[in-house]
Amino acid sequence: MIADLLNGIGLLLWRVVSDQPDAKGALLPVLPAVLQPVVSAVLSVAPIIGVFASLFALTTLLERKGLGRIQNRLGPNRVGPFGILQPAADGLKMLTKEDIIPRSADKVVHFLAPVCLAVPTLLAFAVLPYGRNLVPLDLDAGLLFFFAVGASTELSIFMAGWSSRNKYSLLGAMRAIAQMISYEIPLIVSSVTVVMMTGTLSPMHIVEHQAGFIWGFIPHWYVLTPWGFAGFVIFTIASLAESNRSPFDLPEAESELIAGHLTEYSGFKYALFFLAEYLGMFAISGLGVTLFLGGWHAPLPGLEWIPSFVWFFGKLVSMVFLFIWIRGTVPRLRVDQLLNLAWKFLLPLALINLVVAAVWHFTAVWTFPGALVVRWLLGAALIGGPYVLLGSALSGAKKNTLRVYRYAT
């Protein structure tokens, strides 16, 4: 019995590491039938929570270190060697802090808001393919599921802002909602491009479509096509805004809104918000990796012996690093700039990108030598032209002029 169990666990781990299908099938048959569904669920959920919670801890450290280096500082280096235990110290601090509820707050809603935020954020991880045979839930409409649970986080932010009975909280929540709704559209439209090209909403199949190499060494990832590149850039900008990261961190703008909807939260609830924010960032980066960066595929033909989930997480961490890098570089936008960027720039570009993708799709029948290069240039021109025109029209429109004050003298 015990031997069977150990054997099963060993086989399961081996199947995970060596990318074999049906890893859970190795362990489940040795268990009593009553336990099987429970264990199966735990086996799907526990690794997600474990892995992404540790990734969260790691990212907070990396972020502080990276930002420090970008600003020519050392970053945290006191707790443990090179400061690697800093996240543990931060976590302990968060958990032992006093939990303050404002006297006039709406107690129930104030309590429920962080929970309502954390749950959908975690749900979003269910449909991402982490490896060749590692997907917790292979839904036919997986992408739709992802965006649906993503959309339901907005209500929790409203709950947090409204229930705190604090004007900064409410303003922050309003800004957050306006921002999330605005950027959801370019985000979805740029993802729809991929859906259109692959003809499926299942992330698993989208990744499978990106298998193989052109000319034996260029991976067949969508980011390397003109429409895919444009889509990836739009997707990244929109996902920065969706996860409230700098330069789109207006809802939390510490200097203007003293952290917006988080103002009245402390201790564990604040930690939950913080966790949900980072988890949201991971989920959306994971989706970006899945849609445009080839998911778990290796970048070069000779590297396929490395387990596929290593590639997935490598790409995910690179995306996160890109986010940190952007945070260290770009200053915060104003509200009007933020909305203009979404509606006047990203959305038209995303729509044009749909057309570019269609052109790419219909020129696939060209077979003359060098057709790929011609198609590439055509696509690049089709998306690059509007980009330059729109960009110059939008940035040229507001030249710096002497400001005229209407009321002040």
Binding site: G66, R69, I70, Q71, N72, R73, L74, N77, W325, I326, G328, T329, V330, Y387, V388, L390, G391, S392, L394, S395
Partner: protein, 219 residues
């Protein structure tokens, strides 16, 4: 073109990121408790009381005039006058504070107390490591904690301290000169009086004996 600036900025931050690993000169910060940047001469945070000489309580320059207490905008100075007087730096008897507290959790480092003190008794300190485990008492500094020697003042604000010392010395010199002049004048007057007396004594005894005869019964 749109986005050019962002790319340039990203290149700059990447240069910082990589540069900070191999070029220690880029790092603008020091590792605080071990390394410290010496305080600038113009730095200031909270006030302290200057004392001259060895005995802090005896040497306090403060005369408990309470001007600073009245002028402090957040009212964080609290003074009670002592009834005993003690001599100040020129030797004149002055009041002294029995209690002199500053609540540095309230103080806003405005330096007004320093500006208004006519006795150069209160000056701004540069010590910023005031952390403690007592939230209320630990930040209420009494006169023993506030008192610091003049030599310390010289180490933190050399220029200013030299100027103050010069001024005090000049004042002292003036007072002493005045005292000396007074003494001399007194001596002169005394001498003159004595001379007059002597002269009087040399006058015919008839005149001199009369006042003596008048004075003597009064004794």
């Amino acid at each position: 073109m749109l986005g050019e600036g962002i790319i340039k900025g990203m290149a700059e931050t990447a240069r910082n990121f990589l540069g900070s690993y191999h070029d220690a000169a880029r790092l603008t910060t020091v590792e605080f408790p071990e390394d410290k940047i010496p305080a600038k001469e113009s730095a200031r945070n909270f006030p302290f009381l200057v004392h001259d000489g060895e005995d802090a309580m005896q040497g306090l320059r403060c005369v408990a005039c309470q001007i600073c207490e009245k002028e402090c905008p957040p009212k964080c100075i609290f003074i009670i006058k002592d009834t005993n007087k003690k001599p100040d730096y020129v030797g004149k008897l002055q009041f002294q504070p029995k209690v002199f507290d500053i609540d540095v959790s309230v103080c806003m480092s405005c330096q007004i107390c320093v500006e208004v003190c006519p006795f150069d008794a209160i000056k701004m300190d540069t010590d910023f490591e005031l952390g403690g485990s007592d939230r209320f008492g630990g930040l209420l500094l009494n006169k023993r904690r506030l008192a610091k020697p003049n030599s310390y003042y010289h180490t933190i604000h050399p220029t200013e301290a030299a100027e103050v010392d010069g001024r005090l010395a000049a004042e002292k010199a003036k007072v002493e000169a005045k005292a000396k002049a007074d003494a001399e004048a007194k001596a002169k007057a005394a001498a003159a009086a004595a001379a007059a007396k002597a002269a009087a004594q040399t006058t015919p005894p008839v005149v001199a004996s009369t006042p003596a005869a008048v004075v003597t019964p009064a004794k």
